[in-house]
């Protein structure tokens, strides 16, 4: 399987993502330079975490104008699997590939910690290896992860079953305290209508090795690998 990881100026989880895919999941993984126009035949494109363009202006706002993003857009429109992690999620929102926007965390502070996530649907290329209601332990690290969408938008993503992950307690309950960044409806990750583009704030690449405390990120990567190998 070929994973292309987009490197923007300011990306800082690019190496982490590459490391995990190459050495933990034993996949072909390589960088895609933001100024290029070539996805190098990737089966899956990942927009990694970090501070693209310093997150100046708004998180992810400037990166969306990168030359390569035109290709990524077309790739996604033709059904290609795209995963945006953290800053990558923010870029996807700015790009309009996913609905909604990010506001500053409700406590107005950067938050780096482990959180619990409830899998809301397994009917996607990203969660087919999970069970509905299963709780994952994956860290977050962001300043702007307070998801927002207007009323009609929320109704729509709910109706289409687009919400993939919600912040929850260890037991899978949705509480105000566990919704650490204040996201609307506890949304931590969602897919587009076509279900081939996922944006998620938590970092699965930081939860893929026992040594680092959690292997729950495997669900996401295993699902993608399984989907690309079989379902398509």
């Amino acid at each position: 399987m070929r994973f292309g990881i987009v490197v923007f100026p300011g990306s800082n989880c690019d190496y982490d993502t590459l490391h995990v895919l190459k050495y933990v999941f034993k996949q072909e993984a390589f960088f895609l330079w933001h100024k290029d126009h070539d996805l190098k035949n990737a089966d899956c494109v990942i927009l990694p975490g970090g501070f693209s363009y310093g997150d100046y202006l708004r998180s992810g706002a400037i990166a969306r104008f990168s030359p390569l993003m035109q290709e990524v857009k077309e790739f996604s429109l033709s059904g290609g699997i795209v995963l945006g992690i953290c800053n990558g999620f923010q870029v996807l929102l700015e790009l309009g590939l996913l609905p909604g926007a990010m506001l500053r965390n409700k406590n107005l502070k950067f938050l780096c910690q482990n959180v619990h996530l409830r899998i809301e649907t397994t009917d996607t290329p990203f969660t087919n290896k999970g069970k509905p209601g299963q709780v994952l332990n994956i860290p977050i690290a962001h300043f702007d992860g307070n998801y927002y969408i207007d009323g009609p938008g929320l109704d729509k993503i709910k109706k289409n079953n687009q919400i993939l992950l919600r912040y929850s307690s260890a037991e899978g309950h949705l509480t105000k305290e566990d919704n650490v960044n204040g996201s609307l409806d506890c949304i931590a990750g969602l897919v587009n209508e076509n279900r081939n583009v996922l944006g998620m704030m938590p970092h699965p690449e930081r939860a893929s090795e026992t040594l680092l405390g959690s292997r729950d990120g495997h669900i996401i990567f295993d699902s993608i690998i399984y989907y690309i190998k079989n379902d398509r």
Binding site: L57, L103, K106, G182
Partner: protein
């Protein structure tokens, strides 16, 4: 030529930063404060550009780049 663009959250969007400032001011005893909204301001210095072009291009830039229309609105003015 200098242009100022103001970007702020739409009314319907919660503005936690503005709220924090409001609370800080109330705590300091400025009890006449009813509400605070925080936004961004951009001052653009422009080279040789006509008035007509400005009217076309500044709203475009503001909409496409300087603001995120899902949560923000903008206004702009010519400074000099």
């Amino acid at each position: 030529m200098k242009v100022r663009v103001l970007v702020s959250f739409k009314e319907s969007v919660l503005d936690p930063q503005g709220q924090a400032v409001k609370n800080a001011l109330l705590t300091l005893g400025y009890d006449f404060i009813k509400d605070v909204r925080q936004g961004k301001v951009f001052e653009l210095e422009l080279n040789d550009i006509s008035r007509e072009e400005i009217d076309k291009v500044i709203p475009e830039i503001s909409h496409k780049v300087l603001s995120n229309p899902i949560i923000e609105r903008f206004e702009w003015e010519i400074l000099k």
